[in-house]
Symmetry: C2
Subunit: 469 residues, 2 copies
């Protein structure tokens, strides 16, 4: 994406210089301004160009974050929260410069309440770190966006992933959070009760706000018991349409699948080569079931019948942990396998989500569009949610090809919106999708802007994100 | 509650007179100003005194609601949305007068998308009406607050009820909504995708906002397949503590109970008398399981073992629909049975919710407080969520007794907040609980106020609710 298409944010040179001095004095080695570290903090898994911040702070407490934000507020300097930089839409870029707040040192698990199935963590804790920490408790945190992202970053983008169909998204699993607001004020949005009707839902307001309303400094998360039994399997289908019909029937019958992922033919080809899978090159569903031993067998049996009725199968499934792990490793490596389809290319990921009744149609039209535009672009999707990702493999040296890919993505986003869907199921708007926010939300964007102006009147919180120029 | 304790809202006589004229001319018979109808629209299931509106409008479309709100905005006149008046905290009172918007004529089911497990309804549709409408589709809408409330009202108060432990609350089940904002603008907060990361979560901002940000004029709701099998049962325990331990073990083991309700000894006594139940007068859990036939038997078996280990039981359960219906009718009639404990008394309901590890302690301290204060007050609770209701039976002719009950309720709310819980799990703040909002949310209330001021700068949307004076 060409820089000039992104929302512009003016640089306030004088304020930035003042804040650099204040933070250097206050944080010493925990405030860095070297070029390499600044560029690293503008890194995102995206083709959007780098826009590095002017400095990077490494706070160790909510109080320190409040100090940083207060200093920035006093001098009208942008604040950009940073987890580990796995976001896909330029969320950590600093188009008007400013201070990146790296949460890497705020990575403690603060409390685990096993009886209540919840925990409280600092925002720099990654999901793998949390699950390793929890291992002896018999509990786990299910949300799995693929990347080993930080929980703060996952909350900020309202992330989800392969098992949202069973466990929901970050929207459903953040019970409460602490945030430093734009004026340095510290707010706790809720308590540990499982539900509350006490006032506005500030938790959900901040989850998905991409750092534009406040900086998340702790999160209270729901946990789940590790299932007694887990089984998984792969089922090929004669067509994508049939695979989607199987998904609809599975969801409608109330089979509580933990994962139901769709992989198109081109993506299967890549995965078969990369992960040495013994499956046909046809559209497949990858599934996982959680429950009692009898329960997962019953679920797999019911799904197998649905698949067979639709001409799919054979449905091969296993409860053996190693075999299951190999399958899901192949699914998680889909990104890397895709890159082998065109060595040297960069991947541009898309993220539309539609009602599942429209999923087959949306993927079919998208595949036809890929062909028509001469792009190489495999597809994987969280089919149970109606969410799929096209990875467009582009030659970054070809401006023409980048433009062609952007045209394809624009049409894909509009196709999903026209089907009563969204341009982003789980990646967020960031810089890359802001042109589509208005097409999707219409007047609602004015309401969002009013909330933004009320809570961040100086416009210092992650400016240039979400809202179009 | 004495009127002088409620947040005051000034009456704007001139504006009210102007709006009465405008709406009479525009809506004719669909705008009423008679005393009886006005008082009926200030009715809530509560002991808070009536504060009737100046007129009641009966719109038939979102556009008509927008016209009413625009007229009120032009003259700074309060707008109070009305469903069927089952709220418990004075939500439909009009402390500064104004216009009640009765949603009774906006009661159409607009669309059912069976393949996507969703539907779109007008706000005046009640939950029973929706489930009757859905009967032939094999789908149902699970949220059941007891009363046959409207879905608009349930969304506005973030309601839940007996099966939130399995299906979540209105927060989780409203996918999108249409609202008329304070300036008459019509906003659609989302689409029919199961998840989205596109901008601020306006749906969740309006769900639970109690009419103070906008008037809900349509809702898109999640639906679920009617389970193949349902079983239910009752299990007595030697003490409330043991019953709570059984709840914790059940949730922690991941048994997907659809309902798990706690009933204390006094409430059981009332129910046994009123509903002729054949159970001992000891604390009981009422349960329901949803799944396949094998699944519900497995769940009931697992729960029975947990109960026996804790000295509870016998756990009698049935998959026979009529027997199950009788049990749940007794549970749903708990309110009416309670009133038989003190004929002539009014019931004052409370609604705290705590982490389930604190539930036994919270109920035990509350029972001791009831004794100490000489009150008659049975307890039922949605134990799986940590949410319970004390129904304080009061003689409304005794100011001393009302004051004593209010002191008890204040202490109960503070006890729950001190246990990291909330003063309201599902009823909302309304007028009755606004003194506790600040104790619960601290600085967060300032953020809520900033959002309120940004979206309703004239303060016309259901004034005097949520925020303390």
């Amino acid at each position: 994406m060409a820089i000039e298409k992104l929302a512009r944010v003016n640089r306030e040179e004088e304020g930035i210089a003042a804040v650099l001095g204040i933070l250097k004095q206050r944080f010493g080695e925990r405030f860095q301004t070297g070029q390499a570290i600044r560029e690293q903090h503008a890194h995102t898994t995206t083709y959007i160009p780098l826009q590095p911040p002017d400095g990077v702070a490494f706070p160790e407490s909510t109080q320190e974050v409040a100090e940083i934000v207060s200093a920035c507020a006093a001098h009208r300097v942008p604040v950009i929260p940073f987890g580990v930089g796995t976001s896909l839409e330029g969320h950590v870029n600093a188009p008007g410069g400013g201070i990146s707040i790296d949460m890497g040192r705020m990575n403690r698990v603060l409390a685990v309440h096993a009886e209540d199935l919840d925990c409280t963590v600092e925002p720099g804790v990654t999901r793998e770190q949390l699950n390793t920490y929890l291992r002896d408790t018999g509990l786990f945190f299910p949300i799995d966006p693929g990347a080993n992202a930080t929980l703060g970053g996952m909350a900020a983008t309202r992330a989800s992933g392969t098992n949202a169909v069973r466990y929901g998204t970050m929207r459903d699993n953040v019970m409460a959070l602490t945030a430093v607001m734009a004026d340095g004020r510290i707010v706790r949005t809720g308590r540990r009760a499982r539900k509350s009707s006490a006032g506005y839902d500030l938790t959900r307001l901040i989850v998905g706000s991409e750092g534009t309303l406040g900086v998340i400094t702790s999160l209270t998360l729901k946990l789940y018991g590790i299932p007694q039994a887990i089984s998984g399997g792969v089922c090929p289908f004669p067509s994508l349409e049939r695979a989607c019909e199987a998904v609809i029937a599975t969801i409608q019958m109330g089979i509580p699948v933990a994962r139901i992922e769709i992989v198109n033919q081109l993506q299967m080809k890549a995965m078969i080569g990369y992960s040495r899978l013994d499956y046909p090159e046809s559209p497949c569903l990858f599934l996982e079931f959680h429950g009692s031993e009898a329960g997962v067998a019953e679920q797999a049996g019911s799904f197998g019948e649905i698949a067979a009725d639709l001409g799919g199968g054979p449905f091969r499934w296993t409860a053996v942990a190693e075999e299951r792990a190999a399958l899901w490793k192949a699914r998680h490596d889909a990104y890397w396998s895709s890159l082998t389809l065109r060595p040297g290319a960069r991947g541009l990921s898309t993220d539309v989500c539609v009602p599942i009744s429209r999923l087959a149609e949306c993927i079919a039209e998208t595949e036809a569009d890929i062909d028509r535009m001469g792009l190489i672009a495999p597809i994987v999707g969280h089919a149970g949610d109606g969410n799929f990702h096209v990875l467009v493999l582009i030659d970054m040296d070809s401006a023409e090809e980048i433009a062609r890919a952007e045209e394809f993505v624009a049409r894909l986003n509009r196709r999903a919106i026209a089907m009563d869907g969204t341009c982003t199921g789980e990646h967020g708007i960031g810089q890359g999708k802001s042109p589509f926010l208005v097409e999707e939300h219409g007047e609602g964007v004015e309401v969002m802007k009013a909330v933004k102006a009320a809570l961040d009147p100086l416009g210092i919180m992650n400016p240039g994100k979400i809202f179009p120029a």
